[in-house]
Structures are given as structure tokens and as C-alpha cells.
């Protein structure tokens, strides 16, 4: 991969460049991005119309809101939480209980507003838990949130009247009490509802980063001590930020409740907490849109790739480690690194080196896949004796040849990739030097 030291200067140029005030061009650019995003979202169900694709898009929408809310803590507030799903789950429970009351005729609330109920419920809880957990950041915070998550999960089994025991709480979203002329029986209708809430939440979370609280969350993240000496109480800043993050996680939970019509205690456990953590980190925490990429990418991986290979968790783990070690800014960081070069119209200078690295990269990757799949097939598949088929090629996993091929692919690919990576580095250095000279 690309060595980091050479990247630093690029990162900074491409970094969070701030436009004070809105120029016309900037507004047009923003409107363009948002409009494109909306159009794609509207067109998606027309292109991919299977039920599975619908479920996946719905899950992506929920994950986007959840991941962005997580990044309000990690990326913007510097708070690494191992228990953010508490608010996702509790928001879900809040919403599903309200839905049950609607089903029982005890309450009349528009189905569309259920996520808000989840959000408010989660925000109240978030304020209380935020107050006690954000006195300190870093490791104490991480451990407290982990402890709170474990506590709630353990208590969920002891309090079946609220959490519904193992089976959770189920409701029926087909309530007839709706704002829009939909019944929300079909998942396509739910898709549009999730879409609306997603855009509202994304916009709200984006604007929040621009408010005094959002700015101070950054300041406290960077240097909580200094923040005290400009008049702010870091504990309060964190508590408010935490509450808001809980609110949006609760909205995601409410959307979950509508989409699946049931909520179980697994939603507030360690698993979704770490899932969202990995999504956000892989997407990239330094840029606002990073978690969106992560949510889309990882949800896709979890749902689609897991249908193709059962070793997906291993690939997921390998990818996570690679990202942490060589691309700590995530996918978004990888993209944004190229911004200054893009602006200087120098992409053509590095693309050839990328192409040169792509081929050995793919070879190496194929080697990893072959080896992992062989091992997986032998030790974990239903019938190890049956032929293994990788990308359409069938063979016996126990044979010697596939191993040899795998190791060969990995070795040769790895060696060539290392050489190619050097070329990429060289290309970067040259281009950056050129740009610097021109003073772009």
C-alpha cells in the first residue's frame, strides 16, 4: 500500500478545507451531490427489484443513519464507544412498544412518526447514560460504554415484560393510521419511508457539525484541556453530543422496528455495537461521508458476499486490519487523498502506476481467496469430499495442485505488488512535488 509519511501533506491539502461563507459554486456543487444522491436512491428499486435487494437497501438506509450517529461520537467527538447499539436497540424497543399500543388501539400515532418516538426515547436514555459516561474520554469511556452494553444485554433477559425475552417484541406496521397514502404493507413503501428519514437525518447530522456544539465537539476531541480554557465544559459538550448521537441511533432503531416489525435484545448487544464500529472505521471517520460509504459497503458485504462464501467473516477481519494499518482514514480517506491531485488535473500521472499495481494486487487477492476457501472447505464445509468450486472452477480441495496454485498466486502476486506499490509511491511523490512547485 501507499506509505503514510508521503501521504501526510496530501491529506492536509485535501483535508477538511473550510469554506467560510457559501459561494455560488459551492452551493451548486452541494446541491448537485445531494440531488444525485436522491435520484440514485429513487431509481434503485426500479433497477434492482428483487425482494432481497429491497431488504438490503432498507438495511443500508438504516445502517447509514446508525453509522453516522456513531461517527458523531468517534469521528467528531473522539469518543470510542463499544455500546452504541444500546441506543439503536432501545430506540427500536421504544418505537415497537408505541407501535404495539397503536395496534391495541391505545394510541393514535402516524406510522411515519414512529422513528421519532424511538429517537426521543433513546435521547432521554442517552442524556442520562452520556452524563455518567462522558466525564472522561478515551479508554475509561470505551470501557464504561462496553459495561453499559453488557449490563443492558444481561438485564434484557431478566426483564421479559419490556424486552420480550428471547423472541423480542413484535408489532404490525399495517396500522391504517398514516400521514401519506401508504399502508406500509409492502417493503417498497417502507423503502421510501426509510429514504425520507435517512435524508432528514443525514442532513440534520451534517448541519450539526457546523453548529457551535458540533465545532466544540471537534475541539474537545482534539484537546479537551484547551477547550476548558476557552470557556467550555468538555463534560457538557460530550454529554450533549452523546445525547444527539443517541437520538439518531434511536431513529435508526425506530426504522429497524418498522422495517422488521420486531425488535429483539440482540439489537442492543455487543455484536451490533462492534458491527457499527467496524463499518464506520472502514468507511472512514475523518470525513462526514465516510460512514455512509462504510454502511453501504459493509452491509453489502454482510448480505451479499456471505451468500457467496461462508468465509466472509474472515475476509471482513482481514480487511479491517489492513484498513487500520495502512489506511486509517478509511475508504473516504483513500478517496480524499486524491482530491489535490484531481484538482491539479494530475490523475493521469498516477493512474498508470495504479493499473500496474492492480494486476498483481488481484493476483495476490486471488491467492488469498483460493487458500482461505480451500482451508474453509476442508475444515468447515458440510461435505469436505465434495468438489470445491471457486469462481466457476471446480476441483478437489484435498488435492495438492490447488494449494500450490494458491501459494504461488499469493507469493508471486505479493512480490509483484510490493514492487508495484513502490512505483505508486514514486508516482505520488513526483506528482506532489510538481503540484507544490506550481503552488496549486
Amino acid at each position: 500500500m501507499i506509505d503514510n509519511t508521503t501521504m501526510d501533506s496530501a491529506e492536509i491539502k485535501g483535508g477538511q478545507a473550510v469554506q467560510s461563507g457559501f459561494s455560488g459554486a459551492a452551493i451548486a456543487k452541494w446541491a448537485g451531490i445531494w440531488l444525485g444522491f436522491i435520484l440514485i436512491s429513487l431509481a434503485l428499486p426500479k433497477i434492482f427489484d428483487s425482494r432481497f435487494a429491497m431488504s438490503m437497501f432498507n438495511q443500508m438506509g438504516i445502517a447509514i443513519v446508525f453509522a453516522l450517529s456513531f461517527n458523531m461520537l468517534l469521528g467528531q467527538g473522539g469518543l470510542l464507544s463499544f455500546g452504541h447499539a444500546v441506543f439503536y436497540g432501545m430506540g427500536g424497543f421504544g418505537a415497537i412498544h408505541v407501535l404495539c399500543m397503536v395496534n391495541d388501539g391505545e394510541l393514535r400515532i402516524y406510522t411515519e412518526l414512529l422513528p421519532l418516538a424511538g429517537g426521543i426515547f433513546a435521547a432521554i436514555l442517552g442524556f442520562i447514560l452520556g452524563f455518567i459516561s462522558t466525564r472522561r474520554a478515551a479508554i475509561p469511556f470505551a470501557l464504561i460504554t462496553m459495561g453499559i452494553g453488557e449490563l443492558l444485554l444481561a438485564s434484557s433477559l431478566l426483564l421479559p415484560s419490556f424486552f420480550g425475552g428471547e423472541e423480542g417484541i413484535a408489532g404490525d406496521r399495517w396500522t391504517e393510521i398514516t400521514l401519506l397514502p401508504f399502508k406500509y404493507g409492502k417493503s417498497i413503501e417502507v423503502y421510501y419511508l426509510i429514504l425520507i428519514w435517512m435524508f432528514l437525518s443525514v442532513a440534520a447530522m451534517y448541519l450539526l457539525t457546523k453548529t457551535p456544539l458540533g465545532q466544540m465537539a471537534n475541539a474537545v476531541r482534539d484537546n479537551h484541556q484547551r477547550a476548558q480554557f476557552i470557556g467550555y465544559d468538555p463534560h457538557k459538550v460530550r454529554t450533549f453530543q452523546f445525547t444527539l448521537a443517541a437520538f439518531f441511533a434511536g431513529i435508526a432503531g425506530g426504522l429497524f422496528a418498522i422495517n422488521y416489525e420486531m425488535v429483539t435484545a440482540e439489537n442492543l448487544g455487543m455484536l451490533p455495537s462492534t458491527d457499527i464500529l467496524m463499518m464506520t472505521v472502514i468507511g472512514g471517520i475523518t470525513y462526514f461521508f465516510g460512514p455512509i460509504l462504510g454502511a453501504i459497503f459493509i452491509t453489502f458485504l454482510q448480505l451479499v458476499v456471505s451468500n457467496v462464501t461462508h468465509a466472509w467473516m474472515l475476509y471482513f477481519g482481514i480487511m479491517f486490519i489492513i484498513m487500520i494499518m495502512w489506511a486509517p482514514d478509511g475508504l473516504a480517506g483513500l478517496i480524499m487523498r486524491h482530491q489535490p491531485i484531481w484538482r491539479a488535473k494530475r490523475m493521469t500521472k498516477i493512474l498508470p502506476s495504479y493499473l500496474a499495481a492492480l494486476v498483481p494486487g488481484l493476483v495476490m487477492f486471488a491467492g488469498v481467496i483460493v487458500l482461505v476457501e480451500i482451508m474453509f472447505h476442508i475444515s468447515l464445509s458440510i461435505d469436505p469430499e465434495s468438489p470445491l468450486s471457486i469462481m466457476g472452477v471446480s476441483f478437489r480441495a484435498q488435492a495438492f495442485m490447488p494449494w500450490a496454485v494458491g501459494i504461488l498466486l499469493l507469493g508471486v502476486g505479493g512480490y509483484l505488488f510490493k514492487l508495484a506499490a513502490r512505483r505508486v509511491n514514486q508516482a505520488w511523490k513526483t506528482v506532489l512535488a510538481e503540484i507544490k512547485q506550481e503552488g496549486v
Binding site: R51, M56, A154, L157, A170, D172, V308, M391, G392
Partner: protein
């Protein structure tokens, strides 16, 4: 070549997304198997899948259903998560699948039951049928019973009733200790045990009724100490997985002199983890063990056990997988088509002569009634234990049989039929 193979993968991935029209061959009936295939419980899911594929293959080899149609098991990974299983259900529907078999995790069963009931109401022309082969929450065939759900495993209360029934043959046991996982399932085991012991063995004293956190206890020694001082002679537990093996291991290593009446000691990995210390002390209540065929001289079942071992190199654990598939196939033949609604009606009240006695799908609540057995862990070769389990040199010896009708428990189910 690389690009071609890449293209194939991409095509495969896209196919998953685009596939909305069922591309179904006319001569196969697909059955979705939604259970954990990755993650910590994948071993159990994989084993179940093998059993069902094995059972389907045998039906197919005998001419299939509906005059030659083949049954095909299509695996879907539930990851024991209700959310995941609901998404996988959508995938199954995309493929035109109308039958779902599932069993691991009551949460998943509950979610699938709810979702299928709603789906069948919202899309009356695309209905689905759920067969639950292992989730034992009584409510699924009691208060929560649903027309689209059938259960082919005895539920908690039924299993407890079998244990209590067995204890009537053991007047020497006077003191029983209950220890269970602290969640709905464990509580229902404890409640049922108290109820049925009071009914069938009122002289038994329940000397302890403990609940421990599920999946958290590494060392059960403290509980063992408590059980020890209570003077219990027998222990009833619904524990599964590590909670079961660790409990028994802690008990045997302390030399605890008592009998363990379990639901799942014979489950996958159980005999291996318990080890030889459990010989003569560990009991299980199941519909099947691999000594039955010797004891009841059933050649057909013995052949089935050997064929399974031959094919997968592993032991067979269930009879219910075979019963499930056989009944499903018979119901299709009886209905004359593969429409879930017709098949469901055909399944109601269906009776078959199983290997070890009459087996009935009760129409009232869709609960299967089948002969149940108490068996004890013994050394291989002892009594009827011709075959061992998991190459441990240990097998099972059946000590008590309860006929299908005697396992029945009245159900409050008031089924609404379409």
C-alpha cells in the same frame, strides 16, 4: 482467464440482486433451510443441514414427490439473528421458495412465524409454510400457535413430562435439583419441572431451583458446591452448549454423586466435552439415539445410521429430520400439489408408523407427537450401545420409552385457519 472468472462472480452477485422472477425448474421443489451457517452456532446449523439434505436425498432416490419431482434443500444463513433470518427469508421468496425449515433460536423462529403470517396475509398468492424442527418454546404451539407453523420437536413441557414419567420408574430418587439458564427457556423448564414432578411424583422434594446467567459462567464449581450440600440425587437441566457441558464437567470433576437429566447432553459436541466421567450418570430425553435400532431391532434405521456415517463421516443425531421430510413429502402427495395451504391442511392430523411407534401431527396446534426416550450415557458395547458417538467410545442405552400419545400435553391453541 482471471477476468472471465471475475465476471462470473460479479454475475453471481448481480443475480442475487436482480432475481425477482422465480427461476424455478418445474421438476424440483425447493425448501429453504434457514439456520446458522456462519458464526458461533454454525456447527449446529451445518449438522442440521446435513440431516435434512440426507433425508431429502433419500426421498428423491425413492422417486421424489408428486410423481417424480425432486426436493432440494437450499441453505440460508440465519446467523441466529432474527434480522438476518428475515432478510434471508426475502431471498428465499425471491427464489420462489414456499417451504421453510428452521430450528435454531427461538428468537429466529418467533420472527419467522410473525413474518410468514404477515406475508401470507399481504401476499395471498405467494404463501409460505414454516416447519420448526428444534425451537422448543411451548408458546409456538400454544398461545402463539399459527396455521403456517408446524413443529416436529417435542416442546419443553413435553420433554419434562417424559422425564417425570421416567422418574415414576425410579422410586429411589427422592431429591431433585433444578438448574437452568436465566432466560425465558430456562424458566419454562423450571416451571414445567415443578408442575409435572408435583403431579407425577409428589413425593419428590425439589431441593434447589437455580438460574444462572446464560453463556457467562466459566466455572460452575460454586453451583456444584451448592448442589452438593443440598443432598440432591438428580438434577434436571435444560442447559445447552457450553452451559450444559461445563455444568456436567464441573459436577463430575467434583465427584458429585447424582444423575443428570438433560435435554441436550447428546447434542453435537456434548459427549466429547463431557468425557468418560459422565458414563452412567448423564441422561438425555430425545426422540432418537443410535442404540434404538439395536434394541428394537430396526434394520432400516441401522442402515440409515450407517449410510449417514458413510456419507459424512459423522454420527446421526435425529430421527425428526427424517420424519419431517417424510411427512412433508406425504402431505404433498396427499394434497396433490405443492401449494403451502393445501399441504398444511394435508399435514394436519397426519399419522405415520415411525421406526419406533406411531407418530402424529396434531391438527389442533400443529405439534408433532412422537415416541420419546430416556437414554443414559454408557461405554460402547455395553447393552445395546453397539455404536459410539463422536468417536468417544461412548454410546447410549435406552432406559425408558414414552409412546407418542403419552407425550401429549393439552394445548390452549385456538387455531385460525384461512
Amino acid at each position: 482467464m482471471k477476468t472471465r472468472t471475475m465476471m462470473k462472480t460479479i454475475a453471481l452477485i448481480l443475480a442475487v440482486l436482480f432475481l425477482s422472477a422465480p427461476a424455478m425448474a418445474a421438476d424440483t421443489i425447493k425448501i429453504a433451510f434457514i439456520d446458522p451457517l456462519t458464526g458461533p452456532f454454525a456447527n449446529v446449523g451445518d449438522m442440521g443441514l446435513k440431516h435434512f439434505i440426507f433425508a431429502a436425498d433419500r426421498i428423491n432416490a425413492n422417486g421424489g414427490v408428486l410423481g417424480g419431482k425432486q426436493l432440494e434443500m437450499v441453505p440460508f444463513d440465519s446467523k441466529v439473528s432474527p434480522k438476518e433470518s428475515l432478510i434471508q427469508l426475502q431471498r428465499a421468496i425471491d427464489q420462489g421458495i414456499q417451504y421453510v425449515i428452521q430450528g435454531n433460536g427461538s428468537a429466529v423462529t418467533g420472527a419467522l412465524m410473525e413474518a410468514i403470517a404477515k406475508h401470507n396475509k399481504r401476499y395471498p398468492d405467494q404463501q409460505l409454510l414454516l416447519i420448526n424442527h428444534a425451537a422448543v418454546t411451548p408458546a409456538f404451539t400454544e398461545e402463539k400457535c399459527d396455521f403456517w407453523h408446524f413443529r416436529t420437536d417435542a416442546h419443553v413441557t413435553m420433554k419434562i413430562k417424559v422425564i417425570a414419567d421416567y422418574l415414576t420408574s425410579r422410586p429411589d430418587i427422592k431429591k431433585i435439583y433444578l438448574i437452568n439458564q436465566d432466560y425465558v427457556f430456562g424458566h419454562s423448564v423450571s416451571a414445567a419441572a415443578k408442575e409435572y414432578l408435583a403431579k407425577m411424583r409428589p413425593d419428590i422434594e425439589i431441593v434447589g431451583d437455580d438460574f444462572h446467567p446464560i453463556g457467562k459462567i466459566k466455572d460452575f464449581s460454586p453451583y456444584i458446591t451448592k448442589i452438593q450440600s443440598s443432598g440432591a440425587q438428580g438434577l434436571i437441566t435444560g442447559n445447552w452448549g457450553n452451559d450444559m457441558t461445563l455444568l456436567i464437567k464441573a459436577g463430575t470433576s467434583a465427584g458429585l454423586d447424582l444423575e443428570y437429566y438433560t435435554f441436550y447432553a447428546g447434542g453435537l459436541g456434548g459427549p466429547t466435552a463431557i468425557g468418560e466421567a459422565g458414563i452412567g450418570k448423564v441422561y438425555q430425553v430425545t426422540e432418537f439415539n443410535n442404540a434404538l435400532c439395536i434394541q428394537y431391532k430396526n434394520k432400516e434405521d441401522e442402515e440409515r445410521i450407517l449410510a449417514f456415517k458413510e456419507k459424512y463421516g459423522e454420527d446421526i443425531f435425529y430421527l425428526k429430520s427424517k420424519v419431517t421430510m417424510d411427512m412433508l413429502a406425504m402431505a404433498m402427495d396427499k394434497a396433490g400439489n405443492a401449494k403451502p395451504k393445501d399441504v398444511a391442511y394435508a399435514l394436519e392430523g397426519m399419522e405415520i408408523d415411525g421406526y419406533y411407534g406411531k407418530t402424529i401431527m396434531r391438527a389442533q396446534d400443529h405439534q408433532l407427537l412422537q415416541p420419546m426416550f430416556m437414554s443414559r450415557l454408557v461405554k460402547q458395547g455395553e447393552g445395546f450401545a453397539k455404536y459410539d458417538m463422536e468417536n468417544t467410545g461412548m454410546g447410549w442405552e435406552t432406559v425408558y420409552k414414552v409412546d407418542a400419545l403419552d407425550t401429549a400435553i393439552d394445548s390452549p391453541c385456538d387455531m385460525k385457519r384461512p
